[in-house]
């Protein structure tokens, strides 16, 4: 049995590029990509010199960077047929943990004793940044682990489990901060400085996370197992996958992405945002679904998610520039969302026949 499987498995390993191409073709990602391009062309014609400027596009990329990081994690969760409503709590706990870490590092600037959270962007160093990063990732890890254990081992529906950790996590963040936000410029270079001229680090980081997401979902065994579980949990169990353990890993991955997004958010906005980010969960799920990842699990595309992040952002930005009431952005997003999922549905029904 295992011997007859081996050559096939090897075939899959070696033909990853072909696999990737085939997966791309089977997903409606080209349609959504075409839609995004059409939107950009439309706004470029309607508002020449306003929409299609390098400045505007860079600003757009910067605006969607944090949501991109979150959505990469969410894609894994949804690929495994899960859902994560606790995203805001992961982000805000990430911010708060990072801020707390900075608050507990004593520093002496120009002979004056103080805390790392108060240092300026010029006086900060890699040590503080790494400490904050570690703390933010720890926060994400904890929430993700909690989600994963509750969903995989206690068999609570993902939606309720993460609804619970959403409230509990936001509550813990409020309790730690006593409901008060704190500002810090210590992390600012992480987001706003340039390693590559013209591209802020925030954009660069989002690109790196996205590439890691593509590799993790489409080119690694981990991603393959995630899709297998999402497509049919029982079948995955019977071929020998440790489904529960893998699901925990998937939720931990989602949590880490959220915690990291919190770290980036603190760096970019230079303040914690207790009480903010409340709709990030629905935004991320919208992006993932827009991109063509099925909420039934098993079919996922990281490229689609990137497009799904961009479509609402371009619509909003473009509508504002051509002076259409930006409320229509929400209407358009809703319509495209239903359309994208309907196409997914048709495709699946076609496969079943």
């Amino acid at each position: 049995m295992s011997r007859s499987d081996e050559p096939q498995m090897q075939g899959i390993e070696t033909d990853t590029w072909q696999q990737l191409l085939r997966r791309l073709r089977s997903a409606p990602v080209l349609a959504t990509f075409g839609f995004l391009l059409a939107l950009m062309v439309f706004f470029s014609i309607k508002a020449p010199g306003k929409f299609n400027t390098g400045d505007n596009l860079t600003r757009l990329a910067q605006n969607v960077a944090i949501l991109t990081v979150v959505s990469v994690g969410t894609t894994f969760v949804i690929a495994a047929r899960g859902i994560d409503l606790s995203i805001p709590s992961g982000i805000i706990l990430g911010e708060v943990f990072a801020a707390e870490a900075l608050r507990h590092i004593s520093v002496t600037t120009n002979g004056v004793p103080g805390k790392a959270i108060d240092v300026s962007a010029r006086d900060t160093n890699a040590g503080y940044i790494l400490a904050a990063l570690g703390a933010a990732l720890l926060a994400g890890l904890l929430i993700g682990l909690l989600n994963g254990v509750i969903v995989a081992y206690l068999r609570v529906p993902a939606m309720i489990a993460t609804l619970g950790t959403l409230g509990a996590g936001l509550g813990v963040a409020l309790i730690i901060r006593h409901g008060v936000n704190v500002a810090s410029y210590a992390l600012e270079p992480v987001a706003n400085a340039h390693v590559i001229p013209g591209v802020t680090n925030l954009i660069l980081i989002a690109v790196v996370v996205f590439v890691l997401g593509v590799v993790g979902l489409h080119l690694s065994v981990f991603g393959r197992h995630t899709l297998a579980i999402g497509s049919n949990e029982e079948a995955a169990r019977r071929v020998g996958l440790r489904v529960q353990r893998h699901l925990v890993k998937v939720y931990v991955l989602g949590g880490l992405a959220n915690g990291f997004a919190g770290f980036l958010s603190l760096a970019y906005f230079t303040t914690t945002s207790v009480g903010g980010h409340t709709t990030d969960n629905l935004q991320a799920i919208t992006a993932v679904a827009l991109g063509g990842t099925s909420l039934f699990g098993g079919v996922a595309t990281m490229f689609g998610t990137l497009i799904g992040v961009w479509i609402p952002a371009v619509l909003k930005n473009g509508f504002i520039i051509i002076k259409v009431n930006p409320y229509w952005q929400m209407v358009a997003v809703g319509a495209v969302l239903v359309l994208a999922v309907w196409i997914d549905q048709l495709r699946r029904r076609g496969q079943q026949r």
């Binding site: 859902i83 409503l85 509750i150 206690l154 068999r155 609570v156 529906p157 939606m159 309720i160 489990a161 609804l163 619970g164 950790t165 959403l166 409230g167 509990a168 996590g169 936001l170 509550g171 813990v172 409020l174 309790i175 006593h178 409901g179 409340t278 629905l282 799920i285 919208t286 679904a289 909420l295 039934f296 009431n325 409320y327 229509w328 952005q329 929400m330 209407v331 997003v333 809703g334 319509a335 969302l337 239903v338 999922v341 309907w342 549905q345």
Partner: protein, 341 residues
């Protein structure tokens, strides 16, 4: 057949299990509302002991007023969840219906007519969702997520994000905020309407064929269809009713605020109503749960929101407490359901 009946009997009284824990579990399993109810009673007792001001009729009246909007939305949400769906658009549907009522009335339309039009708006919102769910067989989660955006945008566009002042609105719309006096306690008509709606739906779900069809469709849509139930009609009726109850909640909210607040759409009515349903013991997998559980769930949230500050606990613990409450509720539910396995 006899064996099956015997099993069912054993299921009901469980032949007096040895351990107290098992007996408690069997009781909780046999009576779905018992679990949520004991949580509500327990939290009331705890807060009454901790705070001197909690156990007062005036405070209960306040809790009722604070819970009545979420509870009314919760009726619709329960129906949708019973059919193994979820409605993320309840907050937007409520706000758009409410603003239609308030703006029309402020613009000179007869109060009753404005009210009726508001209800029609709620019905149309529900019908659209139901249409996409049944006709295109899309997941309710996605359809209602899309509807959340669309209705929210339409609401903000229609209302121009401007409040409608209470003085401009017909008394018919504000009537839900009027109170009747029971001794020194004031009960708003909105709360009475809410309780009546719960009673009506509890009757409809338990005593009518339609109610059984809702449960059957939620339990297994395909089996229900094969058994001759027109599942699409059942689903459509559920989303229509959900829209209707959202409009009702909008009417109650006008009474509570004494005006039309377009920003109500940004408040967390969607998640709050789901929380009420979950704490009330209704299964998100569909086909299992009691509508009265949702009332208890909404009241439990209200008790925590009112009790924590009165007990001297800072307001910031509220979110944490409710999160823990949800997790506790589902974990107890999982534990109780092990009886059935």
């Amino acid at each position: 057949m006899a064996a099956a009946t015997a099993a069912a009997d054993a299921h009901a009284d469980f032949g007096m299990p040895e351990r107290l824990v098992d007996r408690v579990r069997a009781q909780l399993h046999a009576r779905a509302v018992l679990g949520p109810l004991s949580v509500l009673v327990l939290s009331i007792v705890v807060f009454a002991v901790v705070s001197d001001h909690f156990f007062a009729f005036n405070n209960f009246s306040l809790i009722l007023q604070q819970s009545m909007v979420v509870a009314t939305i919760g009726i619709g949400q329960t129906l949708v969840v019973l059919t193994s769906g979820v409605d993320l658009a309840v907050g937007s549907t409520m706000t758009i219906s409410m603003m239609a009522m308030a703006k029309l009335s402020a613009g000179g339309t007869n109060g009753v007519l404005a009210l009726l039009i508001g209800f029609v708006v709620g019905l149309v919102c529900g019908a659209l969702i139901g249409f996409f769910v049944t006709r295109f067989r899309l997941q309710p989660f996605i359809v209602t997520l899309a509807a959340l955006y669309v209705y929210k945008a339409l609401e903000l566009w229609y209302s121009r994000s401007a409040n409608v002042r209470g003085t401009d609105i017909s008394p018919v719309l504000k009537w839900t905020g009027n109170t009747i006096h029971l001794g020194t306690t004031q009960i708003p008509y909105g709360a009475i309407i809410m309780l009546a709606a719960f009673a009506a739906m509890a009757y409809a779900l338990r005593q009518t064929a339609w109610g059984r069809h809702v449960y059957a469709t939620g339990d297994d849509r395909e089996s229900a269809r094969l058994a001759g139930i027109r599942t699409n009609r059942v689903l459509l009726s559920v989303y229509l009713l959900c829209g209707l109850f959202c409009a009702l909640a909008g009417w109650i909210l006008i009474g509570r605020n004494q005006g039309g607040d377009p920003q109500a759409v940004t408040k967390d009515y969607n998640l709050d109503s789901i929380v009420a349903v979950v704490i009330g013991g209704t299964s998100l997998f569909g086909g299992r749960g009691r509508i009265l559980g949702t009332l208890i769930g909404a009241l439990t949230i209200g008790v925590f929101r009112s009790g924590l500050p009165l007990a001297g606990v800072s307001d910031i613990w509220k979110d944490f407490a409710i999160g823990v409450l949800i997790l506790a509720a589902v974990l107890i539910d999982q534990w109780v359901r092990k009886v059935a396995r």
